[in-house]
Amino acid sequence: MAEMMNEEEFRVALEDAMKGREAKDASFSMAWATGKLERKHFARWAENHYHYVGPFADYLAYIYANTPDHATDAKDFLLQNMWEEEIGDVRHTDLLIRFAEACGTTEEAIVDPGNITAVTRGLQSWCYAIAMREHFAVATAALVVGLESQVPSIYRKQLPPLIDPDVYGFTEDETEFFDLHITSDEIHGERGYQIVLKYADTPELQQRCIEVTRDGADMRFAYTKALYDTYVAPDLGAWDPALVPA
């Protein structure tokens, strides 16, 4: 039977659960970061990404409803995260639509759930299921640690080529979605870890958190890889990791 880990051991176990399956290393991310994509590929990414991140406040609201009153810090974290997604400043999905329109697609195409891959649909469904059905610490591990905490490492690789005039050449305004998330998800990720470390207070809950963190990382990796296989491979062929400079 699993033993209770102390906070440091548990944090390392959560970090280890994502190793080797981080979305920054998936084919679509690598092709993006190395300047291989075209605007039409980003447009397809945005159409899919909208249906994964668009309901993020909804996922969090289910977790919020499952969080007991005494866990005030966890409830406040979730509420603040929802507020930032929706009304803290520019709505985050509006920033995504701004980028998508710069890539040549339309708001109508973005909000159409018919324009996504089956894997994106699976990722969205998994997020809803976890948020509705799991203990709030487990759901936080899945959605905030497993998914959201990866964002800074992904976008810090992807934003520089986006705004480099010699690579993709987008403007600062068009790419605000990425710049915003690089920093805000650092803090969301850290606060998420703290909630999980505090409230996963049995060996069973700790193990479940590790499992769903790994599952979340797998889901995000599969979602990202499917984007390459569906939209990029017909143009560039199967992804060759040798194309990435050492």
């Binding site: 930032e84 009304i87 400043d89 800074p152 710049d179 920093t183 650092e186 803090i187 850290e190 703290q194």
Partner: protein, 134 residues
């Protein structure tokens, strides 16, 4: 290993060579005392004065330019928007609050509350008060 000294709280933290760390995140993780609120570059609650090591910081981000303006010339940065890659010493006013309620977040909240008031669920005055408290 590089060291960040949090002069106001009298604490310091080392981080691995070759890494870039977000200053607010490292403060939260190790309970180093920086005040903060929005974590999104909007409120200015986490502004820090760079005492040493400005050369080891990431470039100024758009939201820092918007929020800090001329304060940037006085070596002020926003901890949530800034990454360190080497030795650093920072200080702040332990009682500091957000820069002002006219930030984009403040305006946005005010709009939300005031629009709510037009639908008859609160008076306009109540709306302003709530925006100020938020």
């Amino acid at each position: 290993m590089p060291v960040i000294r949090f002069l106001t709280s009298g604490k310091e933290i080392e981080f691995p060579e070759g890494e870039e760390v977000n200053i607010l995140r490292i403060s939260l993780r190790h309970d180093l005392g920086l005040p903060w609120s929005c974590a999104s570059g909007l409120c200015g609650t986490d502004r820090i004065t760079i005492v040493e090591g400005a050369e080891n910081l990431s470039g100024v981000r758009r939201r820092e330019r918007d929020r800090l303006g001329e304060l940037l010339d006085d070596n002020v940065r926003l901890a949530c928007q800034t990454y360190a890659s080497g030795d650093l010493a920072i200080a702040w006013d332990p009682d500091q609050k957000g820069i002002d309620e006219d930030s984009r977040a403040g305006k946005r909240l005010k709009t939300v509350w005031m629009e709510g008031s037009k639908h008859g669920d609160q008076s306009a005055d109540d709306g302003s008060d709530k925006a100020e408290r938020a």
